[in-house]
């Protein structure tokens, strides 16, 4: 990343209440130009509420939102002109054709879009030959493609996708993933992508934030957060007390994360696992199982199972 990269999205201490229900309590994150930014959280964490707030579908109760360096409240139209988005599943006018739907949204996108551009976009998203068909006959995947078409038709700088792979078959998921990478690499777009699936974010995002119960918890580069070199290793032994004593007396500088009667959790690199195993066994500790997970993956799994 270049020095002083341009901030496309700045969210500071965003909060949203619906009556007594707190949907978002305190969310903060930044998205830089060129990012594919993962917005990760379990279902009900407040992702959709946050995204709807960014797109001015919802008014925040508290907090500050800036996009392209401008406050959203006072520069709504300027900002939205530069954003393309899909919020949840893309819904269109069933009684209109794909082409008519695209024209409807292109007309109010803030850009001048020609008929040829419409047809190019339809071809780009793989709907060539279906443009004259009414939306009532479209599958979910086809609607998703058309959703991406309407998000891109006016050549926006920022694309916001809220759970874009929901309901898609494996091929559809791959197509969306490739499309996002293409947008970043070939068209230099900034993408904010929300999901509740870590692996999905991991594959395409370079930066991410995790939120839960309306609060942002962790933010940073994906590689740093999901550092494969450090794992959370769970070892099942006959006596954790004795095992801890042995590990502490060794010169391995291990970090003991947690323990109970028979389970010991260590933060160690993958390369250190055999050495730890050997140390314990040589000192009379019975090792029943060793399981290694990345810290963040475990962390996120705990979140989603709460």
């Amino acid at each position: 990343m270049p020095d002083n990269p341009e901030k496309i999205i700045e969210v500071k201490h965003l909060a949203k209440n619906f009556g007594k229900f707190v949907a978002v309590e305190d969310v903060s994150f930044d998205v830089f130009r060129g990012d594919v930014f993962g917005f990760l959280g379990p279902n009900g964490a407040g992702k959709s509420t946050t995204i709807r707030t960014l797109l001015s579908l919802i008014k925040p109760s508290k907090g500050d939102i800036k996009l392209f360096g401008k406050h959203l409240g006072e520069n709504r139209n300027y900002i939205l002109r530069r954003i393309g988005s899909i919020v949840e599943k893309p819904d269109f006018y069933k009684y209109l054709t794909a082409e008519q739907n695209l024209k409807i949204f292109a007309r109010i996108s803030g850009a001048t879009v020609s008929n040829s551009q419409i047809h190019e976009m339809i071809e780009f998203v793989g709907l060539k030959g279906r443009e004259k068909d009414k939306l009532s006959g479209f599958s979910h995947g086809m609607k998703q493609r058309l959703g991406i078409a309407q998000a891109l038709i006016h050549d926006p700088d920022l694309i916001i996708l809220d759970e874009p792979t929901t309901g898609l078959d494996p091929q559809g998921i791959i197509d969306i993933r490739n499309l996002i990478l293409q947008l970043k690499n070939e068209r230099n777009k900034t993408v904010l992508l929300s999901s509740h699936i870590l692996s999905e974010i991991e594959l395409i995002a370079n930066r991410m934030v995790i939120i839960n119960k309306g609060k942002s918890l962790v933010q940073g580069n994906v590689i740093d957060l999901l550092n494969a070199r450090e794992l959370l290793v769970t070892i099942q032994v006959d006596s954790t007390e004795k095992a801890i004593q042995i590990l502490n007396n060794s010169r391995m500088n291990l970090v003991i994360d947690s323990y109970d009667a028979n389970i010991l959790q260590l933060q160690i690199s993958q390369e250190s696992i055999p050495a730890v195993n050997k140390l314990l066994c040589e000192n009379g500790i019975q090792v029943f199982s060793i399981e290694g997970k990345r810290k963040l993956e475990d962390y996120f799994l705990k979140l989603t199972h709460v």
């Binding site: 709807r52 001015s56 709504r76 008519q100 949204f105």
Partner: protein, 280 residues
């Protein structure tokens, strides 16, 4: 952007099947009425002349296109509001139900502009309904029955308006009827801003019209003060153009009441729409 949005809204109205229900219903109803009057219109007309027929004889083309148009307007004008609300009540809530409102309101156009463009398209649809009604009621009636003087039976007596003096009255009457229907459209649009489904605003609009009409016709002193303020009381203002002399003061009063209703309802709709959180 506002005009582009209005064009979009008009395309949507034109593409919806329900938009043609109103036009079809008017065509069918007027067709039936004209057929019936062609078969036995003189019996119907005698209702108008009956109070005078012991002493007087009415000569000339009594069953003419102008009289038919007036009869049709009287019969249908109470049913047309439903046909208008069917479309205008769906303008906002229909998008919420369909989910398209999410896409629509993430575009760089203010919510007020979106709402006004929907309102304008709704008014244009209402205008088409009134024009179609006029073409069928007046135009087709004149082709079938010919032209002639218009007999209007009011509560204070019979007014016979000469055929050369009738067209401007019909045009003015239709214009006022259009304003009355625009008031209905505004009411249904306002309800639409509060609802997430199509049926609610339509049923609510008709419920309000029925309730206000009942209050308006109940001869109970307790309602005397509010009756002149109800928009339903003034929905028949078009009829005032067929009186002689023209009750200018009453007509202007009706226009003011209807316009005030439109302005107030629209203000409520704009406020709600602007501040609404889009959760659907």
């Amino acid at each position: 952007m506002f005009w582009k949005s209005t064009y979009n809204e008009f395309i949507k109205i034109a593409a919806k099947p329900r938009s043609y229900i109103g036009l079809g219903a008017i065509t069918l109803l007027i067709g039936i009425v004209l057929f019936a009057l062609k078969m036995d219109g003189l019996t119907y007309i005698s209702f108008i002349t009956a109070p005078f027929e012991q002493s007087l004889s009415f000569e000339g083309n009594l069953l003419n296109g102008n009289t038919m148009a007036f009869i049709i307007l009287q019969m249908l004008i109470i049913h047309i509001p439903l046909l208008v609300a069917l479309v205008t009540g769906d303008l906002v809530s229909g998008e919420a139900a369909m989910g398209t409102i999410r896409l629509l309101l993430t575009k760089p156009i203010s919510r007020s502009s979106v709402l006004f463009s929907k309102y304008l398209a709704g008014c244009a649809y209402t205008f088409i309904i009134i024009v179609w009604l006029a073409v069928l009621a007046l135009g087709v009636s004149k082709v079938i029955f010919g032209t002639g003087d218009l007999m209007v039976l009011n509560s204070d007596g019979l007014v016979i308006l000469q055929q050369t003096d009738v067209l401007w009255r019909f045009v003015s009457g239709f214009a006022v009827a259009f304003l009355a229907l625009v008031t209905v459209a505004t009411l249904s649009l306002t309800f639409s801003c509060f609802s997430e489904n199509s049926i609610g605003p339509i049923v609510s609009t008709m419920a309000v019209i029925i309730l206000f009409t009942i209050i308006g016709t109940l001869d109970v002193p307790i309602f005397d003060r509010i009756r002149p303020l109800l928009f339903t009381t003034h929905m028949a203002a078009w009829r005032s153009f067929f009186e002689d002399p023209l009750p200018i003061k009453e007509i202007v009063n009706s226009l003011v009441v209807l316009v005030v209703h439109c302005v107030v309802l629209l203000a409520i709709a704009v406020y709600k729409f602007k501040h609404k959180d889009i959760l659907s």
